[in-house]
């Protein structure tokens, strides 16, 4: 029968959080040691493209502790991360944390706006496609999933920015209203692919639930159609939709690089691209780590709240 002792629940939570911590640890190790995959001496790699003075070279050697053994270097770097110290950016002569911190709000706003579009329109279209049927939604989903954000950016900019002049084509804007105005086209460009994927999952999950006997049972009992759809079909389709949406988060974050570059915005994504171009490896490392961490944390949270969406998994744990 039911086992709902708080003790067991917290054991499951602890195990999930422990798995998350170990994944993050392995990830940080992979990202840190990737520097040693690069051909040649790591120090030479770090200063490639610049001509540092002997003092700067010594500072880099000291900062990365190349005089110390590898495990010690990793440990120093890791404890630095935990204190919010991601090292120094060569390109921008500032701490990586402050460089990223100054660009994070704009990127978060872009991602938040795109997420709203993805969830509202994606789920909405999926529900529409499942209930009203028709080939239209299927075609839209197949095409939408194949529209990369750079294609969407080019077309949106060209039509609504240049041809019609409704939206600014470049920059981030100042003040919340202006920022939103600047953000709308980029957010749409960012959202299209992911929206199509969410639509597709929602539609498939809804169609599957619609064919279930429990839906026939409440229908046969005379429950109004809208209540059947909302309280039984959509409610039960939520599980796969949430799971897939959580998996999309990392792709969404990386795609900000494309959209911010295309629209000339100053965000974390465009920072990643310019850091690669300027061989600013500490910044690249930090951004990669943040994206992976965001993915791991979001998916752990979804895992932890999933029993609320589908109580059957509580028994399976």
């Amino acid at each position: 029968m039911t086992v709902k002792s708080p003790n067991l629940v917290s054991v499951a939570w602890l195990r999930r959080v422990g798995a998350m911590a170990s994944t993050l640890l392995v990830t940080s190790f992979l990202v840190f040691s990737s520097l040693y995959l690069a051909p040649g001496d790591p120090v030479a790699f770090l200063v490639k493209g610049r001509s540092p003075s002997p003092e700067q070279l010594a500072a880099i050697r000291h900062e990365y502790g190349f005089d110390k053994p590898f495990p010690v270097r990793y440990w120093d770097w890791l404890t630095g991360l935990l204190h919010g110290d991601f090292g120094q950016s060569y390109q921008l002569h500032a701490s990586v944390a402050s460089v990223i911190g100054s660009r994070l709000p704009s990127t978060l706003l872009l991602v938040a706006l795109a997420t709203v579009l993805i969830v509202v329109l994606g789920v909405g279209l999926g529900v529409f496609g499942a209930l009203r049927g028709g080939k239209g939604v299927v075609v839209a989903v197949t095409v939408g999933a194949a529209v990369p954000s750079f294609t969407a950016a080019i077309v949106l900019r060209s039509v609504f920015g240049v041809r019609l002049g409704w939206f600014p084509t470049v920059g981030t804007g100042s003040g919340f209203g202006d920022e939103l105005h600047h953000m709308l086209l980029p957010a749409i460009a960012l959202a299209i692919t992911f929206m199509a994927l969410v639509t597709r999952v929602t539609r498939a999950a809804m169609l599957e639930e619609l064919g279930r006997e429990h839906v026939e049972v409440v229908t046969s009992r005379g429950l109004p159609r809208t209540a059947v759809i909302r309280r039984h079909v959509l409610r039960n389709a939520l599980g796969p939709v949430v799971t897939v949406s959580a998996l999309l988060i990392s792709g969404l974050l990386v795609s900000t690089a494309i959209v911010e570059s295309a629209f000339g915005m100053n965000g974390v994504g465009s920072l990643l691209v310019s850091s690669v171009n300027h061989m600013d490896f500490p910044v690249v490392q930090a951004v990669v780590l943040l994206v992976v961490a965001a993915f791991v944390v979001v998916n752990t949270v979804v895992d932890l709240v999933y029993p609320v969406i589908d109580p059957r998994v509580r028994a399976a744990r």
Binding site: T2, H214, T219, G222, P224, R231, H232, P311
Partner: protein, 339 residues
Amino acid sequence: MTGSARAALLAVDGLRVTVPGAGRPILDGVALTVRDGEAVALVGESGSGKSVTARTALGLFPAGADVSGSVVVGGTEVVGAGSGALKRVRTADAAMIFQDPRAGVNPVRRIGDFLTEPLRRIRGESKAAATARALELLGAVGLPDPPRHLRQFPHELSGGMLQRVMIAYALTADPRLLLCDEPTTALDVTTQAEIMAILARLRRERGLGMLLITHDLDLAAAVCDRVYVMYAGRIMEAAPSDVLIAAPRHPYTRGLLGSAPPLTGPLARLTPIPGAPLGLAETVGGCPFAARCPHAVPGLCDTTEPEPEPEVDGDSMVACLRAAELGASLIEETQGESS
């Protein structure tokens, strides 16, 4: 319907359901009646159309089907009915108990939500009133701890307990007609008897009419007043239970009786019906049972469709071209076996 003493709860007449691409109709000329307080069984092999027939009473038709004929439930015509009439039938006149309770209860909602939902959403009862009613119904179907069950999820209950929940759910409609679609098939043997006992008691206490769908002719005869036997979407024979068991008039009914293990006596007497039930893709030109019938006459049974022949009392019918000539010999066969 004026001829009978009791009013008809369910009156099906000339019901024909076809889906494109199938070789034969799913239902063809089905006619049956369930009167107030009466228990009627609909018996047949899987695929014979018995579940489809029961579902039409609630306006649930197969997707893409063409439906003609008449299904009147509590005085309301269901075929071609608008949403208002359908809602009246579903919320007040008839309720269905399904075969597999595991599949029939929404797995992600609590039992309490499941039971109070129709009371609150359809009848507009308050939360307290709906909960009180749900508790009362769970007690009525014999569940041991109603307050606890309300908080439980379906996966926390056994199949037999869930089927009781399903019965309680059907009772939230205060229906006058219970449609039971093989309510015990998915359960284990001891639970089957309990569920049938609960249904019998509820029927007695509340004076409910019942249409029992089953493939078990003995169960049907034991529980119900009258039995309809169905094959390949048609009614083959109908009769009061004792008459049907003692004196079957259709070779198919006779075959069903012969293929069930007797409660007493040696098992060697079992004679399965040869062949397989007619698939939906197959076409029929004559009696659908002709190919499997030991009494079929080539050139007659496989070419001429038997017309249903009602008896004078209105409770019996048989659809067999050779019913009259076979009559006595079929009864002899049956009695010879059960002696």
